[in-house]
Symmetry: C2
Subunit: 361 residues, 2 copies
């Protein structure tokens, strides 16, 4: 029987559909090639060495990481690592400098304090670390808001030994709109990027790198004038949020959590053993916390720690206790690190087990 | 310097304040003794063998678990384990039966299907497993709603070999009100419990165990007539949600995540390196996702995966990059398993490191 492997798994269990992963990789690689963009996927989504290696093999120009542990894991498969997070403190800087010397390092940062700490550590280690000045296009999380501030930090980077100014980076994570609304939003993003690029060029510091590109904006990245690099993370696996806004097709969702029906005591409701500790109770772009992969009309309406509550009021499907389902969570990047390893399948056949090697910090 | 240990930790890092834990344990143990209630703490909150052992040493009559891995870990420190979750499937039943024979096992369930599977596995293993019939007092998650249904399942348990009917269990997780509003709510809970107990007693199946008691209702558990056992989980560590409703005092919050300030680029906001992957972005009983332990007026207003955004608009505190803070998350039970181990401190002094041995399933 083809389902023997899935039957044999204890639940909840995270599954990766390798056929879909491969298609997702080919699609983004082709898009980047077509538009002359470098593709530097953010590996925080999967945290696995194997998927990092597949991304590099598919044409990634390097990888993006958010943590030192991700950097350490991904350095095994890539010689070009962007730490898209300010490294603060002696321990993080020591770990950064301890990465293999073959690794070309770049760091995104938005303050003189972080720049100076990084430069000092780099000099002590005899390395030169690239710097991208992080600018804020409206997310209001990190990043400098004015071209003057960005220019000042770029100048500091350009004139400090141990670091080399390489360009600009931004993350427009606040843009999560349906694909049809995207072109107008991208135009204003493009205009905003241009003000920063112009300021740098006028000052004789033209950015070699302009790095952006989230999964929600991915397929319109080429409309941002001057962009050189995209860093989509979750599109290798995708999730319900991405599908809701059309950033992926439902058949491109490559991650799901296998679960078992454990109670049907409450009418109109089915309880599964994938709860907040397997899926994560994070609000998404549609009501509920996930949907069934094979029955997208069935929504996970609520989560307790170990209980997922399926709303079956809109379907005639009435599973028995013991039946198994696969859930696509709202947000794959936070569900993956709930698990020590991912079970990789083609169809129902087990082909690999990947350690989530970079979970933790 | 007393802060050397905390300074030495890489962030984000989960901290447990052992002085507070000990006070929390003493308080609940004293409450249970005073009211003649058995105390069977739910260990899903901490998932550590060490805290389970402390609970037993402080007077717990046994432990509660939600997963087989929790059962396996806690069986090392307790001879009396309640699995408050229906075990479904051959693998879970095999793991349950493989627990040491010295362990007195009880299982909460709400269906004949689960009862029969459990009884069969128990007979095959030569064990007798206690059964608590799970009833629903309004949470609408699992559990039987009518006394007739509960009685039917109790009768089945009483007449099936391999299992022994022990009583009733419920979890009123929907009750999360301020302490002042609790007495009225508890009265209706008490009335509801009585209808189930009466039905069983009338049928000659008086429940030996009536198990209930969440952290939000903990200190009024004695007002539920007929209750024999309480199963609070999170009150050993507590969290922001518990403090918001007065189920604990702020000084009883024993869990926090140490974080480092990494960006102050956006005015009125401070960014720390404890994000959704360390704290979990779960909505709570007050706006935001956590507050600072030492500055409860500073709220974590938003979380990205590795960024925590502190709202400092209501304080004159303006930390520098590199400064460290401790965050109390909304919900401790989902934050703990983001971490492989917990750093245990008295004040700022490191006294132990506990493995979160039961994270996973």
């Amino acid at each position: 029987m083809s389902s023997t492997f899935l039957d044999s798994l204890d639940t909840p269990a995270p599954l990766v559909d390798l056929d879909r992963v491969e298609r997702n990789l080919q699609r983004v690689a082709a898009y980047a090639r077509e538009h002359g963009l470098r593709w530097r996927p953010h590996t925080k989504t999967h945290k696995t060495e194997e998927l990092g290696a597949m991304q590099v093999a598919a044409g990634a120009s390097g990888v993006t990481v958010a943590t030192l542990l991700e950097a350490e894991v991904m350095a095994a498969v890539s010689d070009d690592v962007l730490l898209a997070y300010p490294p603060v403190g002696a321990r993080k800087l020591a770990r950064l400098m301890a990465l293999p010397s073959r690794v070309r390092l770049t760091v995104a940062l938005d303050s003189l304090e972080v720049l100076e700490g990084l430069a000092r550590a780099a000099r002590d280690a005899g390395r030169t670390v690239g710097v991208l000045v992080e600018v804020d296009l409206g997310m209001r999380r990190v990043g400098l808001r004015s071209p003057d501030e960005a220019l000042a930090l770029a100048r500091a980077a350009a004139s400090t030994s141990g670091v080399a100014f390489r360009g600009l980076t931004f993350y427009a994570g606040h843009i999560r709109v349906p694909q049809a609304e995207l072109p107008a939003v991208m135009q204003s993003q493009s205009d905003a990027v241009a003000t920063f690029v112009d300021a740098l060029e006028s000052a004789g510091l033209p950015p070699e790198v302009v790095s952006g590109g989230s999964t929600p904006t991915l397929w319109q990245s080429h409309t941002v004038k001057g962009l050189t690099e995209i860093r989509p993370g979750l599109n290798v696996l995708n999730d319900r949020n991405a599908a809701v806004i059309g950033a992926c097709d439902w058949t491109e969702c490559a991650y799901s959590v296998l679960a078992t029906v454990v109670s049907t005591a409450v009418p109109g409701q089915v309880v599964i053993d994938a709860g907040a500790k397997a899926l994560v109770k994070e609000e998404g772009l549609a009501p509920g916390y996930g949907v069934l992969l094979d029955r997208p009309e069935v929504v996970v309406k609520n989560l307790s720690e170990e209980h997922g509550l399926l709303d079956v009021s809109g379907t005639t499907w009435r599973p028995r206790i013991g039946e198994r389902v696969r859930v696509v969570p709202n947000h794959v990047c936070v569900s993956v690190p709930q698990h020590a390893r991912l079970h990789v399948v083609r169809g129902d056949t087990h082909v690999a087990t990947w350690e989530v090697a970079a979970r933790g910090w």
